[in-house]
Symmetry: D2
Amino acid sequence: MRKLRMGMIGGGRDSFIGDVHRKAAGLDGMIELVCGAFSSSEAKSAASGRDLFLPDTRCYGNFEEMIRKEKALPPGGRMDFVSIVTPNNMHFAPAKMALENGFHVVCDKPMTMNLKEAEELEQLVATSGLLFALTHNYPGSPMVKQARAMVKNGELGTIRKVQVHYLQGWLATPVEKSGQKQALWRVDPAQSGLGGALGDIATHAENLVEYITGSKITELAADLNRFGEGRLLDDDGNILFRMEHGARGSLSFSQIAVGEENNLSIRVYGEKGSLEWQQENPNQLITRWLDKPKMIFTPRGNQLYPEAIAASRIPAGHPEGYLEAFATVYKNFALHLLALENGLKIEDPDYPGVKDGVRGIKFIQAAVLSNEKNAAWVKV
Amino acid sequence: MRKLRMGMIGGGRDSFIGDVHRKAAGLDGMIELVCGAFSSSEAKSAASGRDLFLPDTRCYGNFEEMIRKEKALPPGGRMDFVSIVTPNNMHFAPAKMALENGFHVVCDKPMTMNLKEAEELEQLVATSGLLFALTHNYPGSPMVKQARAMVKNGELGTIRKVQVHYLQGWLATPVEKSGQKQALWRVDPAQSGLGGALGDIATHAENLVEYITGSKITELAADLNRFGEGRLLDDDGNILFRMEHGARGSLSFSQIAVGEENNLSIRVYGEKGSLEWQQENPNQLITRWLDKPKMIFTPRGNQLYPEAIAASRIPAGHPEGYLEAFATVYKNFALHLLALENGLKIEDPDYPGVKDGVRGIKFIQAAVLSNEKNAAWVKV
Amino acid sequence: MRKLRMGMIGGGRDSFIGDVHRKAAGLDGMIELVCGAFSSSEAKSAASGRDLFLPDTRCYGNFEEMIRKEKALPPGGRMDFVSIVTPNNMHFAPAKMALENGFHVVCDKPMTMNLKEAEELEQLVATSGLLFALTHNYPGSPMVKQARAMVKNGELGTIRKVQVHYLQGWLATPVEKSGQKQALWRVDPAQSGLGGALGDIATHAENLVEYITGSKITELAADLNRFGEGRLLDDDGNILFRMEHGARGSLSFSQIAVGEENNLSIRVYGEKGSLEWQQENPNQLITRWLDKPKMIFTPRGNQLYPEAIAASRIPAGHPEGYLEAFATVYKNFALHLLALENGLKIEDPDYPGVKDGVRGIKFIQAAVLSNEKNAAWVKV
Amino acid sequence: MRKLRMGMIGGGRDSFIGDVHRKAAGLDGMIELVCGAFSSSEAKSAASGRDLFLPDTRCYGNFEEMIRKEKALPPGGRMDFVSIVTPNNMHFAPAKMALENGFHVVCDKPMTMNLKEAEELEQLVATSGLLFALTHNYPGSPMVKQARAMVKNGELGTIRKVQVHYLQGWLATPVEKSGQKQALWRVDPAQSGLGGALGDIATHAENLVEYITGSKITELAADLNRFGEGRLLDDDGNILFRMEHGARGSLSFSQIAVGEENNLSIRVYGEKGSLEWQQENPNQLITRWLDKPKMIFTPRGNQLYPEAIAASRIPAGHPEGYLEAFATVYKNFALHLLALENGLKIEDPDYPGVKDGVRGIKFIQAAVLSNEKNAAWVKV
């Protein structure tokens, strides 16, 4: 075993998600940050790097330089993978270049600006044999893994109904007009792509539905809204969807739902049982049954599947949260990378990957198209 | 003041809702049951009446007989109003006859089998000057009244988003095949009408949305499902809707959501604040705000509107439930009736009425039509 | 079957608990109010009676007159039992006189002002063969009955630990100084007896502990407090206790716990399982287990004991509350009375009785004595 | 700014708390592990160190060797502080030696085996000018900081009542008999000291009470229990306590409360308001008021004090848990150490220290003595 070396693209001072990625990557002591192209200016990038105790020589002014120069380092010293934590429009180019130069990739979601790019990355991953993780973090939560295992093992029977929502309120007022950095790029089509809240959070909901049920959304009807004055991208929406194997569902998302913080919640109903998980209270999985009382599962609690147990780090009753779930994505990616390095094969590595990225882009495109047709059904 | 006299149509032995109506009507000591056509057979009706300590002379074999014979009694002895608690197909005829013979009406929902009947009743109520209550019971809950008052007084600002669901699981298996009485008529189009779960519970959700927001649903797109093998009516569905004043929303309902008991929940998001109410935990109203912490209102707790205070019977912290909310519908109907009798005018009586009944039928018809068109938008 | 006839002592206009008793007694249609000595003045009593649609002839100026005159009525017309809803100092005399004159008794708690009186009533009940119900209402709740049945059937194993608290905040400020009627008599030793909050609410907690566990508190150590300026009776306290069969526990109560409404909560831990019930959210019973996930039982939900099922009136998911639990005490008392009348024997009638009343007084006396000795242990 | 260097004592393979300390110390990127005496054998220590990517030269066979050899390293290379994560009986000696040799100390709780040792450490810290952190982790939680700030700023008024419990169930069966490592030392007086669950968890509750209220417990009456067959130390207990400024309270703790995971909960009632915090659901602070609705504060939510805001790392609605709170203790210790190094003075550094350690030992001794006297009051 060795410690893996990460290079970061984006995530300079004032970035929110860069810090999250670094804490998550570092939590299990398997990954260390060795270099970064944290900002578009060399000086800024170096300043950010110094905060992180990196030498100036490993702080680069742009991703091209980083990939080039790191590649030139001896194998035992250069970074193993890049972590891309830039706005959406800056995912594709560095991911592509990293893959083309033999670096594994961790990339934030949504993966790209359009399906063409997404499929190009998918192709590159397939041909290069390199690893690609997409940081949908919620599948990293122990109770989400328990949920998925329960469905997979048939405890719920055939799934009939899925309800999911992802509600935030931080764009309820036009904060972008006062220069709020997180808002600015998210409401800008040039940086965000086709979807606003759709890409930013509805894709998490879509991914969670498919992760837990193991089934795909086949078609959807989307009614998207722009409540913030002058906004060019959706900040709210309601979607009907239909899935493989006959399940039907609805997905509601919003960034104008006043007072909601990060309310991602899902309910899945099968023929024999059902389950409910709420991201803001992630350490319980509520299950309901035809003939048994409601049962609440907890991390490291009684009667869990191994997948759920493996995703916890501390004993029952000691709450784990967002960072820990995020860290589990990195951890499973790192374990996969180490296995690969040691010639071991992992059949079905448990972290979101490039295929999930393609799904997300297809979902965004279908929703936008459906909305343009007044919520007509569109295949995903 | 005097005690009002109620005659019941339906609600014999083994009826679920008849007993609920009697307990609700009796709770405040303002109404007494004086007669009934509890069953379609005279003997059964009398047996039911004897359980209720009624004399045989006031137990009738059918509603026509009851209305006729009660009308023949002296004014101070005859019933004041009928309470109709039969399956849907038996609402219109007795309601019509009661109104035509000078009796006020309390009627279960959905009001009729189709819009024509609904509008005929609306007309009859208008011309007769008689009172008509539709027993949507959830608006009787103190925290629902607080919610409505908060919206009405502008605390939330313009409403932008509404999410409502009504989830039950008792039809997850084909219980009608083993003769479960409550299931039998509900899955039968001849007794239930156009909608299954749609008419039985989605109408409650629709009514709650319009009651709390004070706005109407203008159009909807409905995806209805029949999961129970061989069912002729929907037992599940997902609906997108749009409202007056720009709000958008989604409504999900089900009677096949395994393990759900009576999960009616609503979230309403305005420009300035939002609220959430859950029927299974009815004694709290969760509110969220742009710049204040989450606040939870409770019956007889701090800072309530008078309408909410008036709808409670006991001090804060003493839970009130389904029967109490149901009783408040009867109580407000009774107060209206007594006011009318005493020549007083109540501008905006606070109980669901014939117009709500018409709305419900329009909602059912629109949803069924939309579903036939693959969830195309249909005006309500 | 016939409808039982109730005479009420106390409970005139402005009384809180009188109205609760009437609603509770009437809910199941088994009991009707036929007379009352609602106030100490004849005029006021008659006015209260008229609100309740009683004839003036059955409204009496005091309980002696009521008992005397009702006794003089023919058996088929006179009241069957009295319901005593006066302040504590007015329980003993009417209860005693009623029993001595052949009337069954329903009495509010705490039963009397001291142990001597309590034991005299106990003696009178034994010798008269009349029924006596003490309105500890919380044992009427379906999930409390489920809790008791689970303990009784050994599901939890030997009980080791009990934690109970009953917290209210309405006496946090000196409301008695502004004439609040409910406060006035409760802080007055002449009307309340030895205990303030101790008698008013801690006795409910004590009763609940013994009802659910089926074991008695054998000794206690009590630290009582008077936070309200100038108060002569406790308004808060913390108690350690020990029980038969080795369980140990703590009981905290308060009427100065700002913002608490009616927070009665209990946790019972056995060798194999544990349970938790909260009065403000009464429709769930939380259970925890050595090797199973947390399970939540609900009224009319899955896997309940018959005692719990029998205590519900409506289907699962339809919340029942304080009034319904209260009504179940009346209902079980009424069923017992009717059984008695019909020569049937009920072995272990399920409502609190005179023995519970004696326990409550012993508990109060022990706590007051312990507190005088600086929380030394005192036998109950 | 530089990265601080930590040496760990204890925390080898299979240790639970060692891993927690490492993750917590590392989370903010301010501290790196540079050496350790992880086990009592050199080989085992080196094996543990290798798991952590440490060179064998920095893995020591015992703490004496580590302190000696690290001291011999040049200042810019040697460890800055030790983190002591051994069983209780191994806290004092390494802490003492570290302080005597110029190393700052982070130490697990309870601090020592007796008061004499505790006071010796207190003295050493005072004379050496070195820093000492005691890892009571719960004060690191953002909502605990908010609670403390609310009390400090007088929002609740004078505190009257405190209720706290810390309930676990993992010792409900005699798991020590099957060799469970965490259990073995905790039930052994030689390793644990005077208290069992008392020292292990009740001290956390005591610390939390004093941290939030800013007041000291002055006397207590403790009823301790040993439910596990053959146990020599308490595994459960109930305590009454009295505080400076007149507050009264109760503390219940248990490790035999079947099904409880890590249920540490506190309620604090003042004259004007009250608050409630539950460790298993740490991201909300419930507050109640004389005349306002219940208000729920959340990390990074609305209207927080700066202390609470500073203790969060991610946006509102993104749950933070046990590790994050633990990390905040390390972070504040690290900030203090860096400030010291840079000649800055921090008036009231916000992490538990040696004085808290002394309080904890006094609390344990008072409780044990009180219990020996049948729960008589004992000064703390």
